[in-house]
Amino acid sequence: MEEQQNQETHRKNWHDRHYKHLLIIPLVLLLFSLVYLGIFHSKNNDFFYKDISLTGGTSVTIYEKLNIEDLNSFLEGELSEVNLRKISDLISGEQVAIVVETTAESNEAREVLENYLGYELTEENSSFEFTGSSLSNAFYRQLIIALFVAFVFMAIVIFIIFKTPVPSGAVVLAAFADIIMTLVTVNILGIKMSSAGIISLLMLIGYSVDTDILLTNRVLRRHEGTLNEKLMGSVKTGLTMTLTSLVAVTVALLVVKSFSETLNQIFTILLIGLIFDMLNTWITNVSILKWYVERKK
């Protein structure tokens, strides 16, 4: 018991000495992310890869066990920008359907696929989802605006809650870093973002900020205990919060992975975001806040 306590004081001392240096880790990561995004943007004229829900095109789900390689080689040259995916049963692992994504229009895709299959695609054996490119472009622009507006609204609420600029700024910075780092990871993994992906970035704002609010609230509004005690208490609560979310998201991801691309992407992005949230709350935000409180003394 005593040993444990000694260890704890030791750790706190270590943190007292090094918390400013710790800030270097997220700062370097954030700088790298911003540079990466800058280069990515100049290359692709966009901040991430978009799937057909944002570029326009057709997604066809055919409920049959089709050979994916065979179909792929057939479709090459027939349809533009084809992308194939299997849907399989969670328990047996057996393929139940195949998803064909293409930037072609739905009637064109239907014709080509029916040629390959040799039978008609009806609502009994297939699903079609077509989005025109003008709509998806508008869609994309608006989602980006929504994300931006949501971020600004969040920042305003944070400033209203805490009123002081530095702690509020720290929360907003942590959320910003969280989203940027997640976005870069998504790009590095080569994930094509759908509208659901952008939604999950929006969800991330909420998930990322609640631990920051907890931390800032405990440190600034509580009058009992030392700064380190308050920080430690917040870490305990906050990590439990993030950990439960993390575990829940991971388990859900495993279940839906083979089934729904939409939910798959939401959970993947949340998972990445929650990991960066730990870094940005417990290093970025804690260090800035500690610095702020120490200076005020």
């Binding site: 789900t61 409920y63 969670l90 139940v96 609502e123 009994e124 054996n125 297939s126 699903s127 079609f128 989802e129 989005t131 025109g132 709509l135 508008a138 869609f139 608006q142 989602l143 605006i145 929504a146 507006v149 949501a150 609204f153 969040m154 609420v157 809650i161 509208s195 659901a196 939604i199 929006l202 969800m203 909420g206 998930y207 900020v209 609640d210 631990t211 609010i213 907890l214 609230n217 509004r221 509580r222 009992e224 205990g225 305990k236 609560t237 439990t240 919060m241 439960t244 979310s245 575990v247 829940a248 388990v251 859900a252 495993l254 279940v255 839906v256 089934f259 729904s260 939910l263 939401i266």
Partner: protein
């Protein structure tokens, strides 16, 4: 006994509110117009063709068929199997259909003109991406529509779908963040094969006397239709008829082109005056929309052989009260005007989004989502249990989260919200924030380091929770309007979810914690 009463007294208002709302939510989920149907067996009638024998004998949409000629019907499949085996028959046969509350006997060699489905076990409605169906977003080609134009388009399209015999269709105008207007069309269940044509079709309207076409829709024959102008489109004061009901007559003018007016004169010239009703001609004017008869109008004898460009079209509405009769007449007038204008839709339509989703995988899908939800809940509560080592607290965390899902679903059932994938993502997001908030409450309640009372500590926890709540709330607002409303489901469900959490379940949880800690 005394002890028990004391315990009852201790249940605070907030816990009672939570319990009552859960019960209401369960009722909203499981009670439908057919009562409690979770264990009901049979086949639900989803539509009955108008003017069919089945309709005349009293079969109606929403009734539940429990047996047919003594054969028990457990589900829609049983019913369809029986129909397939016995129809069409060579001679008229007697078919006794027993519904939950009545018995209908039909003599026919044809299958009853009804469609059935399995009885929904709850009043929850699955969205398109889960239950199957079709969704289309439509814009005018190369033209941005005003709000009036889009409303006209919506009523014309709705009317058209009705004329086509599709009733389970929702047509709505949508305005997105950039001010673009769309018409959204959603069709549940089976997708009509020629949906695209049906939507984009500018419409074929014909007015016929006998077999002869007098004029067709569109500005070639009908130069204009009087609407929203009291001088040429009005509804007369309702009169009481001999049977006690009220009826009201409406009149409005349409203007024919010269050519059409001439044709009208030529055709009517050949027709006799009706001997039994001498005010009118013996043949009525039939209004056909895409070759099916939508309405018939009697032609006044004064119009016989006349070249008139202005034709007064009249009809009536009835009702039990004056107001009902007036409203009925008004609705009928609008319907007719719409039909006449339908042909003259002044722009071409373009389908900018069209999804036709097969219902095939929907059930599997729901199963997986449920599994994912339960697995995630168990995993997260395991973390809570490992962290606090208190089975009581941990199980209340799970119970509260579970109740939150029930309350959200109850509200969804109440406001007839279609649960699509986006809404389910919203529910998952809610459970996530709910868990986080409860961890905050739990930690505060167990924080014995401070001298402040439990009540004060919980109050502090609520400051944090409310802060997080407002952040999520404002960050979701833009989503309601972005992207032609396709993500509204996510935004609304999450907003409902987190609000339920902050105002109902979290206060209850905090009181439960007080009880446990004390």
């Amino acid at each position: 006994m005394v002890c028990g009463e004391e315990k009852m007294k201790k249940l605070s208002f907030r816990i009672w509110l939570w319990i009552v709302i859960i019960i209401l939510a369960l009722m909203s989920i499981f009670l439908s117009s057919n009562g409690f149907t979770l264990f009901q067996k049979g086949a639900l009638i989803t539509s009955v063709e108008h003017n069919s024998t089945s309709f005349e004998q009293g079969l109606r949409q929403g009734q539940i068929i429990v047996s047919i000629n003594g054969n028990l019907i457990n589900n829609a499949e049983d019913f369809l199997k029986y129909i397939q085996e016995n129809f069409p028959a060579e001679n008229d046969i007697k078919t006794t259909i027993k519904t939950k509350d009545a018995e209908v006997i039909i003599f026919s060699n044809q299958a009853p003109n009804i469609t059935v489905s399995d009885i929904p076990k709850t009043s929850l409605k699955a969205g398109l991406d889960l239950a199957g169906g079709a969704r289309a977003l439509v814009q005018a080609e190369g033209k941005s529509l005003s709000s009036e134009e889009i409303n006209d388009l919506v009523s014309i399209t709705t009317n058209r779908f009705n004329v086509y015999g599709l009733s389970d269709v929702s047509v709505k105008p949508i305005l997105d963040l950039s001010g673009n207007r769309f018409m959204s069309i959603e069709i549940a269940g089976a997708t009509p094969k020629d949906l695209e044509e049906l939507i984009e079709n500018q419409g074929k309207f014909e007015a016929k006397i006998g077999n002869e076409t007098v004029f067709i829709g569109g500005n070639r024959d009908i130069s204009s239709v009087c609407r929203n102008d009291a001088t040429c489109a009005y509804i007369e004061t309702p009169q009481q008829s001999s049977d006690g009901n009220y009826y009201s007559t409406f009149r409005f003018s349409i203007y024919l082109s010269e050519e059409a007016a001439k044709r009208h004169a030529d055709v009517t010239n050949k027709i006799e005056i009706n001997s039994s009703n001498p005010e009118y001609l013996s043949e009525p004017l039939g209004l056909y929309v895409d070759d099916s008869l939508a309405d018939t109008l009697l032609i006044s004898k004064d119009l016989k052989g006349q070249v008139t460009t202005q034709i007064s079209i009249s009809g009536s509405g009835t009702g039990a009260t004056e107001q009902d009769a007036y409203n009925d007449a008004k609705a009928n007038m609008q319907k007719l005007q719409t039909i006449l204008i339908t042909g003259s839709l002044p722009y071409k339509l373009e389908i900018v989004k069209l999804d036709t989703i097969s219902p095939l995988l929907g059930e599997d899908f729901l199963k997986y989502i449920l599994l994912a939800g339960v697995a995630a809940l168990i995993a997260a509560s395991l973390i809570i249990f490992i962290r606090y080592r208190k089975i009581k607290q941990a199980s209340f965390v799970v119970l509260i989260s579970f109740s939150e899902v029930i309350i959200i679903l109850g509200i969804a059932a109440l406001i007839e919200w279609n649960l699509d994938l986006a809404s389910i993502a919203g529910i998952l997001a809610t459970i996530g924030t709910g868990f986080d908030d409860q961890v905050v409450l739990l930690d505060e309640s167990r924080n014995r380091a401070t001298s402040s009372s439990l009540k004060e500590r919980l109050k502090k926890a609520f400051a944090i929770i409310m802060g997080a709540y407002f952040v999520v709330l404002v960050s979701l607002l833009p989503l309601i309007w972005a992207g032609a409303g396709l993500l509204k489901g996510f935004a609304i469900t999450t907003i409902i979810g987190i609000s339920v959490g902050v105002f109902i379940t979290r206060p209850a949880f905090s009181d439960i914690l007080k009880r446990i800690e004390e």
